[in-house]
Amino acid sequence: MVDVLVTLAAIIAGVAFLLALVRFLLGPTRLDRVVAFDVLTVIAITFIVLAALIEGRGIYLDVALVYALLSFLGVIAVARYLEGRD
Amino acid sequence: MDKGKSSKWRDTAILFATLMLFWLMLEGKLEADILIVGTVVSLVIALLYRDGLSFFTEFRFTPAGIIAGFRYYGYFFKELFKSNFALAAIVLRPSLPIAPGIVKVRTKLKSRMGRLMLANSITLTPGTLTVEMEGEWLYIHCVTVASADIEAATAEIVSGFESYLEVMYG
């Protein structure tokens, strides 16, 4: 039963991933792409947590921790660059 | 802000305690070697980066402050849920009922952590997004603008969080 729920969660997260990817591919301006990048990173954290649950390895969570901190940096770097020139 | 020497050292001590707490949470165990290494690492970071802030830097450790902290988090999660359901309702409706705009509101908070928490809370709650913070003015993007008047918007958006944060951080 729990397996079914985890599978369902993975499917829904996959659809969300696809939608964010569509925004990345379309994105009229570069900042739109950055927003999509941010969302994709956070969805990747969900994927990592699901993988840790499926495999039963708690050590995978360290990677999610690094993601949570570093995705933020990538977004800020790009945003500061785009802010600087106009 | 006029910061004395003792207050600087107090900040460092609080930063050290917070880092130690995080270290123990990261390790998830309580053993002698972990405590020793954690103390050394936290001390080095706290002394090397003296500008560092922590969640408790300007926190008032009074009973009222602690109770306000708990109530603040309760209110925060309630608002977070409300905001998500509101956004889901907007997104799922085919007509996309939005009337966005950027309004200006006023805050009374002075401490840095309090202001950061206020801005973060506003960003995560119903239909609002902090765009810029300058002095006592906050510029907030709303999905549906109720009124463009400063006082009304302040009462609607800011005051809920501010009452708790004022007790917590001042």
Binding site: G14, L25, A44, A51, D62, V63, Y81, L82 | -
Partner: protein
């Protein structure tokens, strides 16, 4: 249960190829760099699924964080002088 991870890997593979297309076809260098960061990000998740958490962490910290930043840093310098 492994089919879930298999399906997600297929999704990631498709996304990586799409992002790589943007990288080589985009008009602006900034978009290309962002897409390259995205390729690196998905590769990192795929590494984790292939039971390589060490590599995943390295790719996340270095590929997605520092490399993207270096690119934007140099891009900012290069365009800033043109005026």
């Amino acid at each position: 249960m492994n089919t879930v991870m298999f399906a997600i890997s297929v999704l990631l593979a498709v996304a990586m190829i799409g992002a790589a297309f943007i990288t080589i076809l985009a008009k602006r260098p900034a978009t290309a760099m962002l897409a390259a960061g995205l390729v690196s990000l998905f590769a990192s998740v795929l590494f984790l699924f292939m039971a390589a958490p060490d590599v995943a962490m390295t790719e996340a910290a270095i590929g997605s964080g520092l490399t993207t930043f270096l690119f934007f840093f140099v891009l900012g310098r290069v365009r800033g002088g043109r005026s």
